[in-house]
Each structure stands twice: as structure tokens, then as C-alpha cells.
């Protein structure tokens, strides 16, 4: 790891931790843990992306990698539920419960997930990064580099 990148990567992780501190522990750990692993991979990814990574690019990249993980977790959770319940409906299953929790399309859980997904997409679109978060890590790094040059 180049010496000039380590402090910026650490700053990106710190900013991310401050941003997501209110998430429940399992999600917070997944988001920050993923960003840490991306931080370690940054020099390798820079070579693959053919990008000269400056400290500021590294800072933004690690932070946004964490935001991307958060985005992926929310999307994956909603669409896994939606796809599962929809496919089960093909076998005439219209209501799904685990203990006292209802996961049907009419359930509070389903509506909560859908509202969150809509709100997150809207928030990220405000900053013009929603579409970028659907790209690969390489493409994200290239986009940040283009923006900074």
C-alpha cells in the first residue's frame, strides 16, 4: 500500500463509520467491513482501472464503496423478498410468516423495505450517484478519477 494513500483510506473509513453509526450492528459491520476490504484492494483496483489514485480519490472511493454496499444491502433485501414472495405465489402461496412476522406483500415488513428502497434511491439520485452505485468497483473508481481531473 503506497504510504500516501493509507491516511486518506483511513479517513474514508472514518467518515463512513460516522455516517452509518446509527445502523443496526450487523448492517454497520457489513458496510464498514466491505469498505475496509476495498481500501486494501485500492492499489490493485487502480492498476486494473488504469487510474492514478490520489489521496482525495482514495478517500472518496472508499467512502462511496461503503455507500454502494449499503445500497446493495437494501436492494438485495427488498428484491430477495419480493422475488421469493412472487415466485411462491405461483405455487398458490399468498401469505408467508416466520413466527409472528409476516413477510407477505401486504405486510409491514414488505412495505418498510419498499419505502426504504424508494427513499434511498431518491436520496442518492439527488447527489447524482445512484446510477454510479450500480456499476462495478472499477467503473466507480474511474468515474471518481474523471470527476477529480
Amino acid at each position: 500500500m503506497p504510504d500516501n494513500l493509507q491516511p486518506s483510506i483511513a479517513r474514508g473509513i472514518s467518515d463512513l463509520k460516522e455516517t452509518v453509526y446509527a445502523l443496526p450492528f450487523p448492517l454497520r459491520e457489513q458496510v464498514v467491513g466491505f469498505a475496509r476490504s476495498i481500501g486494501e484492494l485500492t492499489p490493485t483496483l487502480a492498476i486494473e482501472a488504469d487510474v492514478a489514485v490520489t489521496p482525495e480519490i482514495a478517500h472518496q472511493f472508499v467512502f462511496l464503496a461503503g455507500v454502494k454496499k449499503l445500497h446493495d444491502l437494501v436492494h438485495s433485501s427488498f428484491w430477495t423478498l419480493d422475488n421469493s414472495v412472487s415466485l411462491l405465489a405461483n405455487s398458490e402461496v399468498t401469505s408467508v410468516r416466520m413466527g409472528g412476522r409476516d413477510f407477505s406483500k401486504s405486510s409491514e415488513a414488505y412495505q418498510l423495505f419498499r419505502s426504504l428502497l424508494t427513499a434511498l434511491d431518491r436520496e442518492l439520485a439527488k447527489f447524482e450517484i445512484r446510477d454510479l452505485l450500480n456499476s462495478s468497483q472499477i467503473e466507480l473508481l474511474q468515474a471518481i478519477s474523471r470527476n477529480g481531473s
Partner: protein, 233 residues
């Protein structure tokens, strides 16, 4: 992309606070969602293989009752029944099965069994677990990336439960089996050199299935881009 990270930070913090209940629900249900997705996908697989598949709910429960842990008896939870010609297959969640080698009992996330071998009601004789001979196959769900040691651990599980899958010469003649081999279902992608390991399995006569990026696979089934999350489109 004129990015102001401070504004992004503020916006996401506000969102997390405003949607605390939703994030709490996601945090506490990720494993459950994956297990639900696993049984839904396996049901779809058997439909794709020409089976008629229907859900069987326990008496008095008009909904699909998920079994999300080792606790409880299978007759108190829902399962799928898949029928093709004279063959009946059942698909159960969190099913206790006997080891292939000893008296040990394991709980598989999804058990694919012969038809009629699991009691549908409590009886005077206690039911401890499914006999290993009555287990056709099984699935294990992990909300992890697929890394080499996870693959080694899964091979160990298969060794204990369905060891013949680790020494199977592919049939030269006749149609392939409609049944899923022991399957690892994971939300994550391959990491490290895990893909290289998996690509060697056929040469080693290891007949298991590794279903990585499972959420994407299920989405493709929903969008009719593939007929089963476990068969290549």
C-alpha cells in the same frame, strides 16, 4: 459528478434515522430472507424439471409457515410437495437428518426428501430426524461471499451427509437427474481463487452445486430469464 461528500454524509445519516425501523428489520431478517429465497428457488427448480409443485401448510394455518431454526417439528411448518409421474419429492426447511456415517444428526437449511417419509402430524412415537437414505439432497444458505475455506467447509458437510456426491462419475448414458445435487446457496460472489476451486470439481468427480450471487439468480427466474436459479440460462 460534482460530489460534496459532506452533503452525502448528511443525507444518508438523515435517511438512516428516518428509516430506522426498516433498517432494523433488514438487519434482523437477512438470514430468514435468504432461507425463504432458497426454498422458493428450489421449488422453482423442480417446476423447471417438469414437476407439479404445491405448498403444503400445516393444519389450521392458512399461510406458508417458515421454519427458521432447528427448533420445532416438521409437521408444524409448511413444505413443498413436487410430483412427476409416480415420483413424489418433498422440500422442507431446517430439516434434521441423520449422518451418513454415524448416529449424528445435522440440520440442513433445505432438505429435499422422498415423498411421505416425514410425519404430517404428531404421533405416539417420537420423531428424531429423517433417515439418511430418505434424503435425496439438501441446500445450505450463507449470506457470505464464497471464499475458499467456505467451499472446504461445505465439502465437509457433504461428506457427513451425502458422501457419494464427492465420488460421482457422471452418467454417460440416459437423461441427467432432475434432482439438485447438494447445493451451497450464497448471496456473495466468488472471492480469492474460489472460482478456480469450483471449476475443478467435475474433474475430481465432485457432484455439488455452488450457487453464488443467488439474489441475482432468483431475480433472473422472476424475470423469466432463466427457468431455475441452479441451471445455466
Amino acid at each position: 459528478m460534482g460530489l460534496n461528500l459532506n452533503e452525502v454524509k448528511r443525507g444518508i445519516k438523515r435517511l438512516i434515522t428516518a428509516h430506522k425501523n426498516a433498517f432494523d428489520a433488514i438487519g434482523s431478517s437477512q438470514t430468514t430472507l435468504l432461507e425463504l429465497a432458497s426454498i422458493a428457488g428450489i421449488a422453482e427448480h423442480y417446476k423447471a424439471q417438469g414437476y407439479f409443485v404445491r405448498a403444503c401448510n400445516p393444519k389450521g394455518k392458512p399461510y406458508f409457515a417458515m421454519k427458521a431454526s432447528t427448533r420445532g417439528d416438521p409437521w408444524n411448518f409448511s413444505h413443498f410437495k413436487a410430483k412427476k409421474e409416480d415420483e413424489i419429492v418433498e422440500i422442507h426447511m431446517n430439516l434434521k437428518v441423520r449422518s451418513a456415517h454415524d448416529k449424528g444428526i445435522y440440520c440442513v437449511d433445505v432438505g429435499i426428501t422422498k415423498g411421505g417419509v416425514i410425519p404430517t402430524a404428531k404421533s405416539n412415537t417420537s420423531w428424531e430426524c429423517l433417515s439418511n437414505d430418505d434424503l435425496i439432497s439438501f441446500g445450505e444458505a450463507k449470506k457470505l461471499v464464497i471464499y475458499p475455506m467456505l467451499l472446504a467447509q461445505f465439502i465437509g458437510i457433504v461428506h457427513e451427509i451425502k458422501p457419494l456426491s464427492l465420488a460421482t462419475t457422471p452418467a454417460l448414458f440416459g437423461p441427467p437427474s432432475p434432482h439438485l445435487p447438494p447445493t451451497l446457496i450464497a448471496i456473495g460472489h466468488f472471492s480469492g481463487n474460489a472460482r478456480v476451486i469450483v471449476s475443478s470439481y467435475p474433474l475430481r468427480n465432485i457432484h455439488i452445486n455452488i450457487a453464488e450471487s443467488y439474489d441475482s439468480r432468483l431475480a433472473q427466474v422472476r424475470l423469466a430469464k432463466r427457468i431455475s436459479p441452479f441451471l445455466e440460462p
